[in-house]
């Protein structure tokens, strides 16, 4: 991560690390950027900016360590600092309101359980994708990192700069909201009728 001791790489070594360790992550990086911005052009710009920053800060990267987590952290920070303000994301919800609501003790018991395994199995990709995309971005992010990208809680804590306990609780709440969205969707489509 950025706080690592600086490495003294030659220009050749920098390019070798960039090509050998950073560029192979381009697919995951672009998909993460797209899931955050929900816009192909913004995702492309965000990935470009991230790779340029990664090259500038390459002396902070220790060769052979977790390049994917290191790059994801830069991308997430770039998104928050540069993109979030001008993001095209519609109907932005105030995060604090959402966090406060979903922090309440009622959340666990309020989540309906009439969503069925078979219903989820019958859903197509677009339906699952739309439900995920409808989540506030901070909740969406933890699900992307955990379920789509397979990061551990410890890696997520480093990428997001939050304590591991917050990773656990935010993930738990994110899944509750997602379940709620999937349930509402299933009901609207009549999926849950016996």
């Amino acid at each position: 991560m950025i706080e690592e001791p600086r490495q003294n790489y030659t220009e050749t070594e920098k390019l070798r690390i960039f090509e050998g360790e950073f560029m192979p992550q381009i697919n995951s990086m672009y998909n993460f950027a797209f899931r955050l911005t929900l816009d192909e052009d913004d995702a492309k710009d965000l990935v470009q900016d991230t790779y340029l920053k990664a090259f500038r800060f390459i002396s902070s990267f220790q060769k052979g360590t977790n390049a994917k987590a290191w790059l994801f952290r830069i991308l997430k920070n770039s998104f928050i600092n540069d993109f979030r303000k001008k993001s095209k994301e519609p109907a932005k919800v105030d995060y604090q309101d959402v966090e406060t609501f979903y922090n309440s003790d009622d959340v666990d018991t309020n989540i309906t359980t009439d969503l069925r395994v078979e219903t989820v199995q019958d859903m197509i990709g677009d339906e699952v994708s739309n439900a995920l995309n409808s989540l506030p971005v901070d909740f969406r992010t933890v699900i992307i990192l955990c379920d789509l990208e397979g990061f551990t809680y410890e890696e997520m804590a480093k990428i997001l700069d939050i304590p591991i306990g917050t990773v656990r609780s935010r993930l738990h709440r994110a899944r509750n909201i997602l379940k709620d969205k999937l349930n509402s969707y299933a009901k609207s489509m009549g999926y849950n009728k016996q």
Binding site: Y30, Y51, D108, I143, T152, Y153
Partner: protein, 100 residues
């Protein structure tokens, strides 16, 4: 025979199905969290073993586990990956070449 089953269930510290609404009624939130850790591969051995015993008798937790598992699987397998724009890699290389 029924006596030995009762003893066995008692030794597992679980109640027979139907005897109570749910063995984890009072701490359902804890069970939901453990389900999350198990599905994410983050549960301790102790949590894993305890939960394996627990869902034998707790239908709500059994159903919750399979529902959560199906949602995780749907996220992993049903959402299409976006193709990287064909010129993106080349554009990055050009911009890096300009500052290297």
């Amino acid at each position: 025979m029924s006596l030995s089953i009762t003893n066995w269930l008692n030794s597992l510290e679980i109640k027979p199905i139907g005897e109570q609404p749910s063995p984890c009624e009072k701490k359902k939130g804890d069970c939901l969290k453990v389900i999350q850790y198990i599905l994410d591969g983050e549960a301790t051995d102790e949590q894993q073993k305890h939960f394996e015993k627990h869902i034998i008798a707790c239908i709500p937790c059994f159903e919750q586990y399979h529902l959560d598992k199906s949602i995780k699987l749907a996220l992993q397998t049903k959402i299409c990956k976006k193709e990287v724009p064909p010129n993106l890699v080349e554009e990055i290389r050009i911009r890096i070449g300009n500052i290297a």
